[in-house]
Amino acid sequence: MSISTPQAGGNRRPSKAVAGGKPTTGAKAKSDASAESDAPAKTDAPTKTTTTAKSGGKSGTTTAGGGSKARTAPGGRPGTRTGGSGGGRPGGGNRSGGGNRPPVVPVKVNSGRHWGPIILFTIVGLVAAGIVGFGVYEVQKNNQGWQDKADSIKGVVDYRKTEPNLLKAAQHAYGKVNYPQSPPVGGVHNPNWERCQGDVYPDQIPNENAVHALEHGSVWVTYNPSLAKDQVDKLASKVRGNDFMLMSPYPGLDKPISLQAWGFQLKLDSADDPRIDQFIQDLRVNASMETGATCGQDSQNYVTKTGTDPTNLGQSAAPTAAS
């Protein structure tokens, strides 16, 4: 900005702050008196020391202080010297205000542009903007949360959104539990979890133990027992030997295949569907309700039994008997 003011009455500091000081024009218009009274106090303030609107003397406060037109005084700040009528513009070109100053030769600003530096700065600017822009893009892309990624998989049902209460009810309970989803995706569950260290169970496993495995962050792969063997084998290859994965047939399943993580479900027709890998990538471990909880730990905590009735290892002398 200050570049455009050619006069440069000895002001060697074209700092923006000063130019910004302009608001004074508005202020002074309103309350001359108050502004004046303030003046002495804030000596250094480059701003509103203006005394009288007309005088245009909002110059260096320090020097002349009062209403004198001393704006040309040595200390004069760049933007300020333009007279009172200088309509907000910093360095507004009303040189006319330069009353007692010797007329200044207008300096050529437009002629003979230095294209070299201009091009250079443009390129540098574009490069800088490009770098920052790329950085922003990368960060944005990387920071898309796993939940958003999972939600973007076609066909995924996100029960965390539709049934938030289900997820709060992460209590332990012995006995059978009725789950609203089939297969279940979360809720009250047995104190013992079905081991989920890449376990491929040949038979149905209890919902109540499987849900506990979901709580620890595992992905539970279920399939209708009528699924072809090669399809089952393909599913098993995605599970076996992978921590936080378990798999079991699920009689009565309304689709050939269903994937569960805590609060998420995806039903599919084929083991070749690429969404299976996406589901696992986005939700395995991430969907844990208990960060750091394990899928194994020890055989006093996990179970590996199959069947439909929940397995209780720790239920000693329990009146809260299972059904």
Binding site: I3, R12, V124, N142, V285, T294
Partner: protein, 212 residues
């Protein structure tokens, strides 16, 4: 004071200087912001593969150790089991945190061991990583009684460590990431020491290491 011309040039020079400073700051800021993500291991890097696979490998060791800890009859075995469980679970936490810091998922897009050259061929027929116990062996360990618990644990964990050390060696070949290398080297040193310990215990208990 100065002539108008001189002052203008001065001012312009100052302005240009300010612009340069601003651009330099922008570039520096952008580069500084971007560099960590450029330097962080990528999704298919050996570091990410190691962090993911070693987490799974460790998790089985923790399971075996915690299974044995309350049932071991040999004091040295019980102490070792406790030590292994706590150490390896802690290392799992470190590796999982790396993945988060690198903005990577706990699960990769490639199969396990794909970060190693010929990694797929390292898997057992069951699709397990080197040294890992099979389901049947875990069941056997669960069902074992008395001194058999101590022996079986030493046998399985010795082989487990050897498989782990093999993976660590591959990582040390492939990675230049100092943090990852440091932890891996620490794991190796520690597990090598325990391998010797297992051998000693097994011979004290009158048993042999597993053949494979």
């Amino acid at each position: 004071m100065f002539s108008g011309l001189f002052a203008t040039q001065r001012r312009r020079a100052t302005a240009i200087g300010a612009l340069v400073a601003v651009f330099a700051l922008l570039i520096g800021f952008g580069a500084g912001w971007l560099t960590p993500s450029l330097r962080a291991p990528g999704d298919n890097s050996p570091e990410a593969g190691f962090a993911r696979d070693m987490s799974t490998h460790h998790a089985q060791a923790v399971t075996m150790a915690m299974t044995v800890y309350p049932r071991a009859t040999d004091t040295e075995v019980r102490q070792l089991a406790y030590d292994i469980a706590l150490t390896q679970q802690s290392q799992i936490g470190i590796m999982q945190t790396w993945l988060k810091d690198w903005h990577l998922q706990p699960t990769g897009t490639r199969p396990k061991m794909a970060w190693m050259p010929n990694g797929a061929r390292e898997l057992t027929p069951d699709g397990l990583m080197p040294g890992m116990a099979t389901d049947a062996q875990l069941q056997e360990l669960d069902a074992a009684k008395g001194k058999q618990v101590d022996i079986l644990f030493c046998q399985l964990m010795l082989r487990h460590h050897l498989g782990g050390i093999h993976m660590i060696d591959e990582l040390l070949q492939l990675s230049h990431d100092q943090d990852v290398r440091d932890l891996a080297q620490g794991m190796k040193n520690n597990q090598q020491g325990e391998v010797v310990q297992f051998q000693t215990i097994l011979s004290r208990l009158g048993a042999q290491p597993l053949s494979s």
